[in-house]
Symmetry: C2
């Protein structure tokens, strides 16, 4: 691997350089194969010889560059990656639209990249209409988010938007439902057919500006002593309730 | 902090020494306050002066030893801990019993300590009867498990047992329900009043020996493209379905 690639790969672990270059990293055998299959534009495909031997279709890929397991483990963000790393072009965000049916998930300052990636995976499992991130959320293209999403970043439409404005302009027909501590019992609430489900940050919950835009608040009932649930766990429970009465 | 304490605290990051000494680490302001309040036996209470100034009741604690934020950050397992660390005696496990009502969660080789801690927090939120870990699960007293449980390790009865034997001897009245890929739809399944919910490992699902003991298998319905859900996320969705029809 050239020094230039090594430098770029290190830089792409920082959001600043990802935005500047319009590129991000996908690491690990499974995710690299998925990004190839999804047809996203690949700027660099750094693989070991053993990996190419296992997937001979890659041998003619125009961006292929052979490298060693040792170097992959050293320069990537994922210490356990010893087979493949792709440098991928960020696609432009699709225009953000309100859903006709189903639910968008909106995330109000979910700052932990592992949580964001897990939420993308959950949104994918439940076939949600998409995920809207407030600007202070973790970067959707950060290596920890990409890894935690287990390939779901390829399938879930994702957007960045200022949530108070986005929610304020939601059509009247949409439910704007926030997850909070003192809302209606999520086991009894009847989710309307289309809407936005808003999840708050790990430490502060929903911001006041977002709360002011909610049309409903729901609460997952608690039966024991824990003070809270992790935001990704709470998102999954509510997506499950949206999808199955 | 004496050299002896420093050595012990470093050792207690390894399971071998935790078992040998019967001690484990609790790190961070909130968790240390919770373990004190719960009345668990404290062998060493290492705090900064600022922490004791904020919590003057601690000044007379017999195990108190003042230390510095710098040293706490350096010797503990949690790099962000700069206030307090407790060395706590492991309580003996309570005798494992089948529940009369409600559900035990049984974990078949859940090896990631973050997942195990998150599951303890979920079991606490939903007031589950307890958590039974197979011997290959992550250590319940490891620092990452304790941190991820957010204090729930203090409240949730937890046990270690060989699951095939434990499930084989379950009374006829109990539901033995496994979470799998080809079971009944969890949105339609009517969970009987008392039982054991068995979750498989992150990578291999339920082992054959455990599957042989199941009386029901349930599947969380999928509406999109993700291949699977994280084991803690799936446990939460199923606990939520057990508690709210």
């Amino acid at each position: 691997m050239t020094q230039r690639w090594q430098k770029l790969i290190r830089q792409l672990q920082q959001k600043k350089y990802r935005r500047q270059e319009g590129l991000f990293l996908v690491e690990g055998e499974k995710s690299v194969l998925e990004v190839l299959q999804a047809g996203w534009e690949i700027a660099g495909l750094h693989c070991t010889e053993a990996f190419v031997a296992d997937h001979p279709g890659l041998a003619m890929h125009p961006a292929l560059a052979l490298t060693t397991a040792e170097l992959l483990g050293k320069i990537g963000a994922m210490a356990t990656n010893e087979r493949a790393l792709a440098v991928v072009a960020m696609p432009p965000d699709a225009p953000l639209q309100y859903p006709d049916h189903g639910y968008l998930l909106a995330l109000d300052d979910v700052r932990d990249p592992g949580n964001l990636g897990t939420i993308l995976r959950i949104a994918d499992w439940y076939g949600m209409a998409g995920v809207v991130c407030s600007p202070a959320c973790a970067d959707r293209y950060g290596p920890k988010t990409v890894a935690a999403s287990m390939g779901s970043f390829l399938r879930v439409p994702a957007y960045t938007a200022e949530l108070p404005e986005f929610l304020a302009q939601a059509p009247d027909a949409l439910a704007v439902v926030g997850a909070g501590m003192h809302g209606q019992n999520a086991h009894q609430f009847r989710f309307p057919g289309a809407g936005v489900l808003v999840m708050g940050s790990e430490s502060h919950g929903l911001s006041a500006a977002v709360q002011a835009q909610l049309r409903h608040t729901v609460t997952i009932p608690r039966f024991g002593g824990a003070e809270s649930l992790n935001v990704a766990v709470a998102a999954a429970v509510l997506c499950d309730r949206i999808k199955g009465k």
